[in-house]
Amino acid sequence: MKTHSISRRELLKNSGALVVTFGLFGPSARALAQQVAGLPIPPGSDPYNNPDYLDPTSLDSWLAVMQDGSVTVFTGKVDLGTGVETALAQIAADELDVRFDQIHMAMGDTAKTVDQGRTAGSNTIMRAGPQLRHAAAAGRAELLKLAAARLEAPSEQLVVVEGVVSVGGSPARKVSYGELLGGKRFNLKVTAKGIQAGLDLAPEARVKNYKEYKVVGKPVPRVDLLPKLTAEFQYTPDFHLPGMLHGRVVRPATVLSKPASVDESSIHGIPGMVKVVQDGSFVGVVAETEWAAIQAARALKVTWSAPAAKMPATVGEVDAYLTNTKSFVDTVIADKGNADAAISTASRTFEATYHWPFQNHGMMGPSCAVADCRGDKVTIWTGSQGPFTTRDRVASMLGVPKRNVEVNFVEGSGCYGRLTSDDAAEDAVLMSRAVGKPVRVQWMRADEHVWEPKGPQQLMTARAAVDAQGHITAWDFIGRTFPWTEAQGTPQLGERQIGQKSTAPLPGNPVGGGAIEQIYDFDSQKVVGSYVDWPQDEPTPLRTNPLRSPGEPAGFFASESFVDEIAAALRVDAVQFRLQHLTSNPRAAEVLLAAAKQAGWKEHSSTTETAIGPKASGRGVALAIRGGTLIAAVAEVEVDRTTGSVTVKRMTIAHDCGLIINPDGLKFQIEGNVIQGTSRALMEEVKFDAAGVKSLDWNSYPVIRFKDVPEVDIVLINRPENPALGAGEPSIVPIPGAIANAIFDAVGVRLREVPFTPQRLLKALNAKGSSSA
């Protein structure tokens, strides 16, 4: 449970600081560490000796022992509904030798926690886990030191059970954590270097061997579910303050321009109207009741000036732009041998291009935040994935020191990357500032569908050469996409509306499929991510930000379809063909084999013959890696050749993310990824034209429903001797490829464009029919 019962002042009064540094293990963790360590620290963001930040070197910034012996663990990470609150508490409980229910997590308040980076990129367990583990271990060591003095026994003779320290062999000589330090500070410095995900905390603290874990590895039930199921949980939109007003935003459906005129007489007579807020090109309405604000936002007549930019008119226009525009950065992800030369001289080659559309995050609850501006200070309650990012953006927008902005995390609906851009908080601040009272802003459904930053369109082209033995010898893969228009450190919607300029484009989506070099052995390979600028002189509804496992469902849809195409052309079983290219990656081979075995995979070469009768069944496999986590998926589909509809009946997943913290929570993340991935593969595509986004609601942007959800069968591969890697996103990555390959297996057509709509399938079947006729 979120424990807000301890205030920062109480904490500082009470706490002893524990800082722990964590070691980095394994190539992916090392790579990530190098990546994050290499990032320049933006000016003013260095948390050391900085009044804008809690001191990471004080153990009291991380842990507080209560008089009842429970321990509050403070973390800048937040729970987005994935269960990391429970998982992080498991980690802390083990290192502190307390019961799970003696740990309380305090998450994501900028004045009470250390910035551990945004809750994004599946890095909470992978990065914050070791940070908190080392903090907890340093805390335990200090508590043992205090106990040794109190009990007059050497530390090495002490044992700890459920937060009670006793002398080995003399159980009567005991003292509890609460008696030792309850309500007091540790007053202990620990080593800390780096920032956020790259923070190296208390390396001097000795952490436990996995064999000593009692809570980690257990399917501990989540602490947040009962209150969520009984309406006792406070979600972002449930937060309220005395005297709070209600705000709604008014934005055009196309490119943001300036309001040439705002006709306030158009909302005359709506009871409870407080103010039409206009600030630059920002327009919002504030009212005493929510219904009045909604009515006013609908009725307010705003004439928008001609926009400075225009929207692309079609998906094809965007593809052409992606293809023909010079990239501003080419990230070479792999370059081994000379793939180009090998392919140009090979006797047998393959080539294919794959398309991925703009997609929505589609939060069930649209953006929402409450802001209370008082003079040059502001307090915000929001479900942001990055409370510190929200704070820094708002401080920049208002031109005040960061410490004048306090952001309190209040969990909202699941957001899948969307709330790395916290638009509603800025909207609420602008409206609260204008009326001098706390304002709650909630976007309406169309606001969210139109204006949420989207996962960008992607194009991937793959080429390969195959030798006489049927082995892929050369691989050339280029992914082209747009950068994120909304990223950490760039002005967002509200800021831009009041006149702040956007900064240079940042590469966004890691080019999906790039990580393929971490899986297969190809003699020569080149993998490049090309980013094409996506200029937004004024923000358009095709703004972009990270969408669950950014870029990778598309990249692996392309690369795993392509591997499958080659296997089918060579008349080789899809699993066997992959295994032939996994000789130097036994961990990936094990995952693939585990999924195949669980699914009862029968060796066969995929058919190119269409089955008889209207319905055909097929199976497809895909393998993927994300942040070191390996995932294999076997999809079983049923295709109706008369209607073109695809039903995914079952998905079998094998999953290796190293040490498993909570196997039930992990399985649930996988189930969610499979279902969301199936939805994205089968039906999700943002519709737009030059006049704006046309996907305004759940009818025009359908997502998967109960009747169409596949059964999910999961094999977990636990590697307790390895570090725990991320699991919030990786298992969505192989889903579209596995489904595409199963469709091919069923009816012999290759769908190279997502989503796999009935229209696309029928078109492909017709083309196949006419070509074979």
């Binding site: 987005l80 509904g81 994935t82 269960g83 039930p221 989540r222 947040d224 579910l225 009962l226 209150p227 969520k228 199921l229 009984t230 309406a231 006792e232 949980f233 406070q234 979600y235 939109p237 449930d238 009871p271 009741t289 929510e290 219904w291 009045a292 909604i294 589609g362 939060m363 069930m364 609850g365 649209p366 969990e411 909202g412 609906s413 699941g414 899948y416 909630q442 309406m444 459904r445 039930d664 929570g665 649930f668 189930e671 969610g672 990824n673 499979v674 279902i675 969301q676 609601d697 759940w698 009818n699 997502v703 429903r705 109960f706 009747k707 959800v709 059964e711 999910v712």
Partner: protein
């Protein structure tokens, strides 16, 4: 504004409200019942569902004047942490929610389903809940939880 009498979770409540206000905002803001959520305001997602005289309705498109003095049940009326309803208990036992934002609609529709079919098949549940959207992908556990609740009711 008008005085409107509502029968919510077995209690008579009088609110001062614009009678055209959708029931959702009255429940949430006048009566502090935060079980029903705003998801779309269009009757498409089901997050705002309440039970009106035994029928699941979308409170975001139901004007409050149309439900005066009629029996309304919200999620708060189902059970509490101290005394959870068998459905709420079963959902915890199956760990059947991720973010939980859509669970109001799922639980209220599940309640209506079990009231008319005490032993629903997986297909019955899928059909009954098809109009409710869940984005985190809790569907499979929801199906199991509802069947678990049905079994526990049969035993009771």
């Amino acid at each position: 504004m008008a005085q409107i009498s509502l029968n919510v979770n077995g209690r008579m409540r009088v609110v001062d409200s614009d009678p055209t206000t959708p029931l959702l905002y009255v429940l949430r803001n006048n009566l502090d019942l935060k079980g029903p959520h705003f998801g779309c305001g269009l009757g498409q997602c089901g997050a705002c569902t309440v039970i009106l005289e035994g029928v699941a309705v979308r409170s975001c498109i139901t004007p409050v004047r149309t439900v005066q003095n009629r029996a309304i049940t919200t999620l708060e009326g189902l059970g509490s942490s101290a005394k959870p309803h068998m459905l709420q208990r079963a959902f915890v036992e199956e760990q059947a929610a991720q973010c939980g934002f859509c669970m109001n609609g799922i639980l209220m529709n599940a309640k209506v389903l079990l009231d008319r079919n005490s032993n629903p098949s997986s297909e019955d549940i899928r059909a009954a809940l098809d109009p409710i959207l869940c984005r985190c992908g809790s569907h499979l556990r929801v199906i199991r939880a509802i069947q678990r609740a049905a079994k526990s009711a049969a035993r009771a």
